[in-house]
Point group: C2
């Protein structure tokens, strides 16, 4: 038999205690921030019917969906293109919209949900890019543009601050502004989508290569020229504001963006917010404000989201205003300080003097835990020195020793591992002594 | 377009806020109990290489593994029997043993891990039986029989008590006792496995049908007769103890079981423990003590586990003693009181008097949250009565109102939704007032 492969599957990770502790702590912080903002916990299954996910993420996204093989007779009967009946969720948004459509009557009128859960993408693994990773989402269903968008951003910025991350900028735009921009610069409607895709690449390719990119999207040089010229101006945002003043869709988008800017500018702990009329974001379904959190420390966004009114219609639900955002928690964990040591162990490590002392040790560990104090029991029963080493390896705070003299005197030796001091404590007082440690 | 199916995939569930809150609370209780017993958090990916899982669960189990379709060219090249490269985890034990083998040098000598995570089985869905469900596992790697088994059972019983469940019995046996029993009753070694399988069905089929069951496993009537006769005795356990006194494997098993009984009898909150020499448990890999938690309230076990020394060898690791157990948390949640209402909402619901008052409302909600008080902001801006209704629907504790007179007087009306009383609080004192509510 060949030696089995012990590494986890490509793009996935095992989490040993130090890392797992850090992740659980981070998830708890994010959850607390989201709930302080009134978002309720919510979850959907890890897999969905294939048809629930197809047609939602564009061709590139769709290729990355992990599909689950049919089983038994269904597999034997299956045509080559229909081997799978279910698929792992690719994001939290689409399954949530399905579940909201299914349960709308059971949910509050304004439904604010949060979800901290894994998603799967068959992407090429790389630094900070995994095939299994967690997302932390908030969404508001049933509230129009304005305060709802501000609340989504407030919850996300609070969570990032809670995680101890600082030094990011929120790029804010609106799909309505992009639409108005296309109209104002005379781009033919059929080319709006392509022009926006080109624009979205501006910060990667630079203004020099933009005409080429716009041409590849089908814009003639004279159609691209006015936009490219103004984009090269020192303050394009101001130029655009002027230009949109007479264009209704763009003006509406500007008013929404300005409301968000006015509410959040100067209030974000560790971050800032800026209007960026070139931000487009990839997904088709956005309809209003869109945003991306970027940081110089990472060549990509650490969070993003926007308004996608009407997405619930895809599932036959009523058309409803929705906006939401997603924290890239894996990236934020990567950018904040890494775990270095195993988590602190229990308060007490109860040693076992010899095999005859097992019941005594069991009674002590039980009494300590009954007082709400975490405790570890030695399971190997070796020499006291070896037991002390195991206690140190587990990073316990104290070691409890019951030698024959201690038993005769009715006491327990409580040794503090950090200071090395040893205190003789009457047996019955040990739980209270440990519970009272500062 | 046909109307999309809105229900989650067969055997899976959406969790709306009330249920999700209850699940998260339950997981937190279990985690706290496990960690108070010195078990460390740990996780593995949701999917593994197919070969990591195959050959571990028996033929019946293997059919229930969800496999993930290969992608792109790998799928085009794949033979019909090799369409999948990965599979969703079927339990937490096997992936953990792989991860332990891969990381043994980074883990403590005695490694106690807990894991609260979903697993997937393509089982026929039924009451309390799902295709996606959580397990809550504890395992001790690297400690021999005795205290380690007791610690596993202590952590599990503490978690069940923490969840508020009572009225169960732990059936305890040992694979060594079963082995000794087969030897003592003269069952030929080749038939040991089959005889144990038959024995495991005893409490379902009754003593009358046991001879038939043993015959179907290949035992001749004269081979089955002595065992069947003694099993019908009023106290088979006592008869067996006598019978095993001269048989080394069985005696060793009895000594281990007696140590566990002696440590736990009378100490289990809400439960009891009993030696049951007919308990066998399905999986092949057990080597020592085995146990199952049964309750009259449910026709099946709510937890189980045992010792499986050497399982890490399957992954090329060193042979190590291991024992562990798994809580059937879904069943325990089903058997304990169901959630009836949405979780309590935030402490404060900040109303918005009119559109011109938005900034004032935003400033107030921000100040309240900054004081560590959870707060909801009205997002619809309707009549005050409607905002009050939304606050009640969200189960908020107080509603904050800033009418024109209040603004002029520099106060906020704080209305307690339960009592209906309204207090006029100076604006600057509102966060402290809310934080100080009993």
């Amino acid at each position: 038999m060949s030696k089995p492969v012990l590494a986890p599957a490509s793009g996935t990770r095992d989490f040993l205690p130090a890392d797992m502790q850090r992740r659980l702590d981070a998830f708890a912080i994010v959850r607390r921030c989201f709930e302080a903002h009134g978002f309720l916990p919510f979850d959907t299954p890890c897999f969905e019917r294939v048809e629930t996910l197809t047609g939602k993420y564009g061709d590139e996204g769709e290729k990355l969906i992990f599909k689950i093989l049919k089983r038994g007779e269904a597999l034997e009967r299956a045509e080559p293109g229909e081997l799978a009946d279910m698929a792992l969720r690719y994001d939290l948004t689409v399954p949530t919209m399905r579940a909201v459509a299914a349960n709308r009557h059971k949910l509050p009128k304004v439904f604010k949900r949060h979800q901290i859960a894994p998603v799967w993408r068959a992407d090429r693994p790389g630094k900070g890019r995994f095939r299994e990773f967690y997302q932390c989402d908030v969404d508001v269903v049933g509230a129009p543009a304005g305060l709802a968008d501000i609340e989504v951003l407030s919850a996300m910025t609070a969570a990032i601050a809670g995680l101890g991350f600082a030094g990011y900028e929120i790029r804010l735009n609106s799909r309505k502004i992009l639409k108005g921009m296309m109209i104002a610069y005379g781009v033919p409607e059929a080319l709006h989508g392509g022009a926006v895709v080109a624009l979205d690449k501006l910060d990667k390719i630079g203004i020099e290569k933009l005409p080429e990119e716009l041409a590849s999207q089908g814009l003639a040089p004279e159609q691209a020229e006015p936009l490219v010229r103004d984009l090269g101006a020192p303050d394009f945002a101001a130029v655009l504001r002027q230009k949109l003043s007479a264009e209704p869709t763009g003006s509406a988008g500007l008013a929404e963006v300005d409301q968000i800017l006015s509410a959040l500018t100067g209030t974000i702990e560790g971050g800032s917010i800026r209007f960026d009329p070139t931000l487009a974001r990839g997904l088709d379904y956005y309809t209003g404000a869109i945003f991306e959190f970027v940081t110089p420390a990472y060549g990509g966004s650490i969070a993003g989201g926007g308004r996608y009114d009407g997405l619930t219609e895809m599932f036959g639900g009523q058309s409803e205003p929705v906006c939401g955002g997603s924290l890239g928690i894996e990236r934020i964990l990567m950018l904040t300080e890494a775990a270095t040591a195993d988590p602190l162990g229990p308060t007490a490590y109860v040693t076992v003097w010899d095999p005859a002392a097992r019941d005594r040790a069991l009674a002590l560990v039980r009494a300590v835990r009954a007082a709400g104090v975490s405790a570890e029991l030695d399971l190997l029963g070796g020499k006291l020195g070896n037991q002390m080493k195991l206690a140190a390896e587990r990073r316990c705070r104290t070691v409890l020793i019951q030698g024959p003299d201690d038993v005769a005197a009715g006491v327990v030796q409580v040794k503090d591992l950090a200071s090395g001091t040893q205190t003789s404590v009457p047996l019955a007082d040990v739980p209270a002594h440990l519970a009272g440690l500062p």
